[in-house]
Amino acid sequence: MTLIQIDEYDTPAGKSLAETIKASIRTPDSLGLDRCIQCGACTASCPAARFTAYNPRLLVKRVLENDRGVLEDETLWNCFYCYTCQLRCPRNNSPAKLVQVLRQLALNEGIGLENMEHFLGLGEFFAAHGISQVPEHYLGKMAEALGSSWVEFKRDLPAIRAELGLGSLDIRDERKEIRSILEGTGHFERAESLRARLKESGASEGIEENKFLNAIPGKNKSEDINLEKNGRYSGPEALIV
């Protein structure tokens, strides 16, 4: 089995940041990075620029100057991936796409790992069920914020789905195709290496990222959704790598 390094595709080695970004399969060949005229339409349109210190025009300029300091710029993690910059750019550049590659480069260098903490268990859940859930810590926060009505809804979800004539949440995947694909494309290794580096860095907030609220009908009984007094779910340790 050939081992696939995600890096080779998302962040291929290049002489400069711009070369890596252009060679990445996350960006199309038509990307107008070199054609940027610094007009600022991206920044003028950007919700993150409006509400935070993130500045896509400046980010593109720094990339073109091959300023690797951008990888350490915390505002890199403020982009919403809404693609308003891409829509408005008169040169077919896409700061939102640049950010996707830059965040991968940053993670490769161990920068911003703490931003991934909530999400590292998504792949395991996906492999087991064929669907994705929002991270458990967020469900706990939702329960805290929305109170009993939402918790009741989550409890009633299987019954509501049945009443609506909808089938199982889990997909039919007898050959474990999803797990095979995640494995074969190097996902688990990537997630494991990010998890290990996060632990090493000491940046972990101690979130148990593999603990998901498992509200899958037929998998767990509805009583498994337990809401403790502090609003966090105690409930099932659904999937442990």
């Binding site: 993150a48 993690w77 308003t84 789905r161 909808l166 199982s168 995947d173 190097g186």
Partner: protein, 314 residues
């Protein structure tokens, strides 16, 4: 730009969405109800998986993983004979479009994805160039409904005259591939078209109409305050415009508005008296569908009972 006559009404794979399934299952039921009433030929597959959207846009999955998962779903569509993919979620739409374009246009990616399939004994998933076309095989459900809006007008049973509603179009539909949408990406009006056909009075414009809902994938988790601030900004604009109902086309926006509105009210000390719905739920209601057994409105966080009473639905 895509034309309305390019939207198929046969052989549609109704592409399930994780967030629809788990948060607002009524969107799926309402879509099926509409498709049935409008005579659209569709199929739902038990084998179709998550598109990877959430994991992809929180920077977890590599593009190769995302593309291979999409190729598997394309094989599902092909094998069941329903190759026209219709998405309820705008991120599924964007992910599938992009992956399809990559599989057709990048030989190295296609070969690598196929070699993973072969090594794992999944030969039947192998993708051949042109198996699906990113422009003519992948759609948003709203486009399908929009293409039948004259029928909707004929079939509408509920009198929504006087209803002041506004639209929030999904970023991953019109900003991600503006060349591939129906209408003008600087002023998307698909939701307005459908709701208008059902008798609603659609607000032409409101402040921040094209601003993101604020979810921003990781943003809601890693920068929650900013995320909610963006949403609050939109809610404030809608309050000033005096709308009763905000209509959207994506479960991520739906969560951000409906689930977060009570949270924002609490955290920002504001109060909003409008409600939220997916456009498919609204159109189904207009055609006489049951608000709970079809539209699943009991799953909402902002209660819709006053709204339903006002228009004589309950």
């Amino acid at each position: 730009m895509k034309k309305m006559e390019d939207i198929p009404d046969r052989k549609l794979l109704l592409f399930k969405s994780c967030m629809v399934s788990q948060e607002y299952p009524g969107i799926e039921k309402a879509t099926k109800y509409l498709f049935d009433r409008l005579g659209i030929d569709y199929f739902v597959s038990e084998e179709q998986s998550c598109c990877t959207g959430i994991g992809h846009y929180v920077d977890l999955y590599g593009q190769l993983t995302t593309t291979a998962i999409a190729a598997r779903n394309f094989a599902v569509a092909r094998k069941c004979g329903y190759p026209n993919i219709a998405c309820m979620c705008s991120t599924c739409y964007a992910i599938n479009k992009e992956a399809c374009e990559l599989l057709n246009g990048n030989e190295e990616v296609r070969a690598q994805v196929n070699s993973v399939f072969r090594e794992k004994g999944l030969e039947d998933l192998v993708y051949a160039k042109g198996d699906l076309d990113e422009r003519t095989n992948i759609f948003h459900v709203l486009e399908v409904i929009f293409s039948k809006k004259e029928l909707l007008t004929e079939m509408t049973e509920v009198d929504f005259s006087g209803l002041k509603a506004a639209a929030h179009h999904a970023c991953h539909y019109y900003k991600f591939r503006p060349e591939d949408m129906i209408g003008n990406p600087e002023n998307p009006r698909l939701i307005d078209g459908v709701a208008g056909a059902c008798g609603a009075d659609m607000l032409r414009w409101y402040e921040d109409r094209s601003l993101t809902c604020g979810m921003g994938f990781a943003q809601l988790h890693i920068h929650k305050d900013t995320s909610l601030k963006v949403t609050q900004t939109k809610l404030e604009s809608l309050r000033k415009a005096g709308v009763e109902l905000l209509l959207h086309m994506c479960p991520n926006c739906h969560i951000q508005y409906d689930r977060c509105q009570p949270v924002i009210e609490k955290e920002f000390g504001s109060e909003y008296d409008f409600v939220h719905m997916n456009i498919a739920q609204f159109a189904a209601l207009a055609l006489g569908a049951d608000p709970y057994k079809v539209c699943g409105l009991q799953t909402h966080s902002v209660p819709l009972e006053n709204f339903l009473e006002k228009y004589g639905i309950i």
